[in-house]
């Protein structure tokens, strides 16, 4: 390792000498290519951030909805238990069975679970947990019906039957609680994805433009030193336009992230088209900024 480090200056020296000997117009062409690549990179990263953020926000909205559905299902299970207890203790179960209140709540549970499955944002882990909830629902329903028929018999089994059903209710509520936690974990992960994380997406949007700024500064120095000219205002205009576009896109994305909008602004088709056109304009401006000087020095292709 040490030997390699010692050899580095020796290996780099010829390359540096070659660079120093290169005609400034070649360096200018490289700088132009770098600036154009930087602007293209900024446009592509904006596209990636906007599309991915829209998708992540949509997923997290679905996950939030799934969590709300699970909460409703859990509340309906508790209400079903209360309704069942009421029926078993106060009504003639031979006539009412488990009771209409209980059945209504159970139909709510089934509906809310189906909605939660539709909006599941936790992938396979969520699907597995939903299956576990459904696996707990079936014995709870069976035991509730058994509790109703046990209540007809009277005696200790009527009381114990209620307890078995109540244990089933507890198991079901626990399974729903675990499902909600699974969805919450997925939601936290979705909210930490880089396209919706300000610390990450600002770097993605502005990083390429910082490189463009450095290249523009290098261009200005090269022009002043070797060509005794000021850099074209088109270049600064191009940089300003690209930066303004990226910053606007960034703020739109920030707003989308904060409001969790179902219709994100940064990824809206109109915004996408406008921003890409502005980046394209910035690219054209950068090209024009270098064009005249490069046209003065046309060498034959070797």
């Amino acid at each position: 390792m040490k030997a390699a480090l010692r050899a580095l200056p020796r290996l780099a020296a010829p390359r540096y000498r070659r660079l120093r000997a290169t005609h400034p117009v070649y360096v200018l062409a490289w700088l132009r290519n770098g600036v154009l690549l930087g602007i293209a990179g900024a446009a592509l990263l904006y596209l990636l951030v906007a599309v991915q953020a829209s998708s992540d926000i949509a997923t997290s909205i679905r996950t939030t909805q799934a969590m709300a559905d699970i909460g409703k299902a859990s509340a309906a299970v508790t209400s079903a238990g209360i309704a069942l207890n009421g029926t078993l203790t106060t009504e003639d179960v031979q006539l009412t069975g488990t009771g209409s209140g209980y059945l209504d709540y159970i139909s709510d549970v089934t509906r809310d679970l189906a909605l939660a499955a539709e909006n599941n944002g936790a992938g396979t882990a969520g699907t597995v947990q939903i299956q576990i909830v459904q696996g707990q629902l079936e014995p709870y329903l069976q035991q509730s019906e058994t509790a109703a028929s046990d209540a007809e018999l009277r005696g200790p089994l009527a009381t114990a039957g209620e307890k078995y059903a109540s244990t089933g209710e507890g198991d079901l509520t626990t399974a729903l609680g675990i499902l909600k936690c699974t969805e919450q974990t997925a939601l936290n992960e979705q909210r930490d994805e880089w396209p919706v994380d300000p610390a990450a997406f600002w770097w993605a949007l502005l990083g390429p433009l910082i490189v463009v700024l450095i290249l523009a500064e290098a261009t200005a120095r090269l022009m002043a030193r070797h060509f005794r000219r000021h850099v074209s205002p088109w270049l600064w205009g191009s940089l300003l336009l690209a930066t303004a576009t990226a910053v606007t896109a960034g703020f739109l994305n920030l707003d989308d992230e904060r409001t969790h909008s179902g219709d994100p602004l940064a990824g809206h088709p109109v915004t996408l088209i406008c921003a890409l056109l502005l980046f394209l304009t910035a690219g054209v401006m950068a090209h024009l900024a270098y064009r005249r000087r490069l046209a003065d020095y046309r060498f034959r292709s070797s």
Partner: protein
């Protein structure tokens, strides 16, 4: 120009290579083996020792073979499988505590079918090995075994191991500990084991097999129920009475309670590993030695996941079985005859001796585990109803007979598992 093209091609190849490598790495981490087990996870009021023991057996294997484990715990295994099958997302492995369920899933049932396994169960004792096979094909591995024909007593109150002595002890007070609660599924099963043990002890293997084939209304079956009812004085000899028994969890009936005697397997008693309790095999009630009522867990494969197959192979091996039984808190026993009683913790060696060939007592698999799930559930409910109202016994037996007949019609008489229930070691 050519050099530019070459550089571009090299860069593209490198990028493609990096992407492929990254995908392979990510893909490698995703391999998961999903297992459904009936053992409760440790929680506030649940020791979860059986689950913990299983976890400690499988975890090192999963880590050394670089796959993840997703162990799902449920007491309602059949219902869980139904829900999984409905979404076409079956677990890779399932632990079935009932040979009746193994037989049910050997052929496609409700979209669930056990895979054929290329294993040999030659080192496993019958009836466990024969119950895991059908026509020479292995469908499951009997990963755990247990002995149910045990009467537990407080060491401070020694027990005379005869039926007459048990009857005498039961005449006064509340000596019996009984917990029938198993939550929303299978509550009542400890009573079902009582009836099975009495029938076996009083009338032997032939009567037991005949009962398993559907003879619910035979006089012998009725007498076995009545013998249990008389022993516990219709619930008066049970600590706390019938309601307490119905409300007490099956594994919380004895420890810290004011009763001295309990019937059942060690894992079902909830006794700690180092216990102040003794046990005796279930006493003979006729001139013949009483057969031993046993049970087991059968692990089957439901998918083509090769890691799951490897894990099952690992679980079936003698060294793994030895490791499992040594984790004393789990109260695991093995049907593998190569696992010696000396491989067990001290407290469990005596019970392990009962699982060794040469005990001269027939092993019979627990009746309610052998029965088809519907009939088994009806049997357990009947136990609760019998204790609730002992006078209803005849009606209950006729109801069970009806269920058994309907079940036989459903399976078109193809159910053979009852014929393999008993075997001489």
């Amino acid at each position: 120009m050519r050099s530019r093209l070459t550089r571009f091609a090299v860069a593209l190849t490198l990028a493609a290579g990096l992407c492929t490598g990254a995908t392979a790495c990510v893909g490698g981490q995703e391999v998961t083996v999903t297992i459904v087990v009936p053992w409760a996870k440790p929680a506030k009021d649940v020791s979860g020792l059986e689950y913990e023991a299983f976890y400690h057996v499988v975890l090192p294997f999963a880590q050394s073979h670089h796959f993840k484990l997703d162990i799902q715990s449920t007491t309602a295994v059949a219902q869980q499988l139904d829900a999984d099958a409905a979404t076409d997302n079956l677990p890779d492995l399932v632990d079935l505590p009932s040979p009746g369920a193994v037989e049910q899933y050997e052929n496609k049932f409700d979209g669930i079918q056990l895979k054929k396994l290329p294993f040999s169960l030659s080192s496993y004792n019958k009836p466990w090995s024969s119950l895991a096979e059908s026509a020479g094909t292995v469908y499951a591995v009997p990963v755990k075994a247990d002995v149910k024909s045990l009467i537990w007593y407080k060491a401070s109150v020694p027990l005379s191991p005869t039926w007459t002595a048990l009857q005498k002890v039961s005449l006064t007070g509340t000596p019996w500990c009984l917990g029938l609660n198993n939550g929303p599924t299978a509550s009542g099963w400890p009573g079902a084991d009582w009836v099975a043990d009495i029938l076996l002890s009083q009338y032997g293997k032939a009567a037991y097999e005949s009962w398993l084939k559907g003879a619910w209304t035979s006089g012998q079956v009725g007498k076995a129920w009545q013998a249990w009812g008389t022993l516990i004085r219709g619930g008066d000899a049970v600590f706390g009475g019938v309601l307490t028994a119905m409300e007490t969890m099956y594994n919380k009936a004895m420890v810290g309670k004011g009763c001295e005697l309990e019937h059942g397997a060690l894992s079902a008693t909830g006794l700690p590993s180092k216990f102040d309790y003794g046990y005796e095999p279930f006493p003979r009630m006729s001139s013949n030695p009483a057969p031993i009522l046993v049970s087991g867990d059968f692990m089957g494969l439901l998918t083509d996941n090769p890691d799951a197959m490897m894990l099952l192979d690992y679980l079936s091996s003698t060294p793994t079985q030895e490791k499992w039984v040594l984790l004393g808190g789990g109260h695991a026993f093995s049907a593998d005859r190569m696992v010696m009683p000396t491989d067990y913790p001290d407290a469990e060696q005596g019970i392990a001796n009962l699982l060794q060939p040469g005990t001269s007592r027939t092993w019979c698999f627990s009746a309610e585990d052998i029965m088809a799930p519907d009939l088994s559930a009806a049997f357990e409910q009947a136990v609760l109803e019998y204790l609730n109202q002992p006078g209803s016994l005849n009606n209950l037996l006729y109801g069970l007979q009806k269920t058994a007949t309907a079940n036989a019609v459903q399976t078109k008489g193809e159910q053979q598992v009852e014929e393999k229930a008993c075997d001489l070691p």
